[in-house]
Symmetry: C2
Subunit: 339 residues, 2 copies
């Protein structure tokens, strides 16, 4: 565990609620909080299309409380927020394409439920500290790179619009109602436990699956699109730092990485991890082209200056750990192919 | 009628749906469209706290079709959008304070229902042209004046957040789904037919009522806050211009006025309209102070350059017409005081 002692002290013996707690990032966060001595409750809906997976907490199952319910549940959440010292609000619908096909579900989860949770905090637990996981997706197609927090907001899909509303509810409840809250805009987070069955959570998921199953990785467009990536441990560092201090209150912070790479080079890197893999460059499917944002990478100077965060796990090392995890545990993440 | 001939031609014989059609702006728009020869259907929920009022259409009642239903109605709207050439989407929850007390209702009307309407257009009437009425409120406290469309977005209340989501759904459906849509960010619109029973729609409403009832106009703060105002006829001009051309598609336009005035001078101007009136300077109520934005006025150069719009009715003349209207018709807008 790389957690610093002062940060551990912030969470030892404290009650922490994580929505999306059986998901990719939530489960890693839970592991770190358990190690720090926190009393951790995980809320997850286990909707099959989303990120929740019991295997993500198999090693800490007896040290966390799990409450299966949906963040849209108007009765459960007002009860569950009571008595919590911290709320890491990670539950969300993450698929951009799903948000276009079924915009109302995205709205209900990413905006409406967030408002309900904040109302519950206001009424039942105004002393809680809330950290909300948002996405760089809402910057849209960048005007400049790297993208800092002052960049104009220009969501290109329903998901981006609703995540933004969710963000602003958090900031508003901080500013007007005194519910201490902050927002992290995550870039591409990857690592063990991410959804790899398909591309709903991150395209890297399906890349990992294809690599392990011996199919070519499919790179859309020309492969020249630049991106930055955060290994999940680094993302968890940022969540904990943001939760541990009141300096984050009312603030929005980008995460990101100084290691910028284009998607073709990323595909090459993945095929060089010791697994016999290949990739192919294929044209954008039209529904993806419509919401593609070209090059993107984040400026994370603000969180570095304010909270002292920076990523520590290099991309090659992170990918190596990720692929090794799924080589070992893939049976828990997708059904094996026939034949 | 000041409507130009080319604009009339755009609407003659065309089917037009106006949500919030019994409201303040919707009813004036209906009057102009009827004069231009359009087939006009008004949708209104007549929720008592909102702007709908049968008297607003008393003079055109037999020349419009009125359908009483809520924009949240998931069955009515998909039916009603069918066959329409234009949709002026004006229905909304407008009270900033109500949005803080009951954020979910504001979300349901200003965001969720907008998404439903756009989905209905996508599925049943993709050729419709949509004009969405938004608000300058979502700029928040200005960084600079006058505020143009490039100003950062910083909503200070739940209403601003939800209106913004509503805006972006419109722009997204334009950009991705080809539903031609544009957004007007209205500043302070006033005139005959506005809600004057209370301050839910505009503070000018309750000012007019107080003036006519012989009570002092109450100016919050020090009265030095600058504002700009649009008489409703000018606002309707902008809506019609935006509806009549495809140059507006995907665009956001500020309305506004070059006639900037502070609230104290506005109160003085109102007491000089021939009614024996007075005003008083009173401290901000705390719930209003929390969402106050200081000085605000809009830069409307974009819509002037793109669509040729500019306001034509001066403030004193507009206020005179407004007060004269309520002197004559106040019985339809508020219950007389006892005694």
């Amino acid at each position: 565990m790389s957690i610093e002692t002062p940060m551990s002290a912030s969470f030892r013996g404290r009650s922490v609620l994580i929505t999306g707690g059986l998901g990719f990032i939530g489960s890693h966060l839970a592991r770190r909080l358990v190690a720090a001595g926190a009393k951790v409750m995980l809320v997850d809906s286990l909707i099959p299309e989303y990120g929740g997976n019991w295997f993500n907490v198999h090693d800490i199952r007896d040290r966390v409380t799990v409450n299966i319910c949906d963040v849209r549940d108007p009765y459960a959440m007002p009860y569950l927020v009571q008595g919590q010292d911290f709320l890491f609000n990670l539950a969300g619908q993450t698929s951009h394409l799903d948000s276009m096909d079924d915009p109302h579900t995205d709205l209900a989860i990413n905006a409406q439920a967030q408002l309900s949770i904040l109302e519950a905090c206001r009424k039942h637990n105004p002393g809680v500290k809330v950290v909300f996981a948002s996405t760089r997706q809402l910057y849209g197609k960048p005007d400049y790179l790297p993208v800092d927090e002052k960049h104009p907001i220009r969501p290109v899909d329903v998901n981006g619009i609703n995540k933004l509303a969710g963000e602003w509810y958090h900031l508003l409840y901080n500013n007007v109602h005194g519910i201490r809250a902050c927002v992290l805009r995550l870039s591409n987070t990857y690592g063990p436990g991410m959804r790899v069955k398909d591309a709903r959570q991150t395209f890297l998921g399906i890349w990992v699956r294809n690599l392990i199953e011996g199919r070519p990785i499919r790179v859309f467009g020309d492969g020249m699109q630049l991106r930055d990536f955060n290994f999940v441990d680094d993302c968890v560092d940022a969540l904990l730092l943001a939760g541990a201090t009141d300096e984050s209150n009312g603030q929005v912070f980008n995460l990101g990485s100084g290691e910028i790479i284009n998607l073709k080079d990323l595909a090459v890197m993945m095929t060089e991890l010791g697994i016999d893999g290949s990739y192919e460059i294929v044209p954008f499917p039209p529904e993806r082209k419509a919401i593609d944002i070209g090059d993107y990478y984040s400026d994370f100077a603000k969180i570095r200056a304010s909270l002292g965060w920076e990523p520590r796990v290099g991309l090659r090392e992170g990918l190596r750990r990720t692929v090794a995890y799924y080589q070992k545990h893939h049976e828990y993440y997708w059904a094996a192919m026939a034949g």
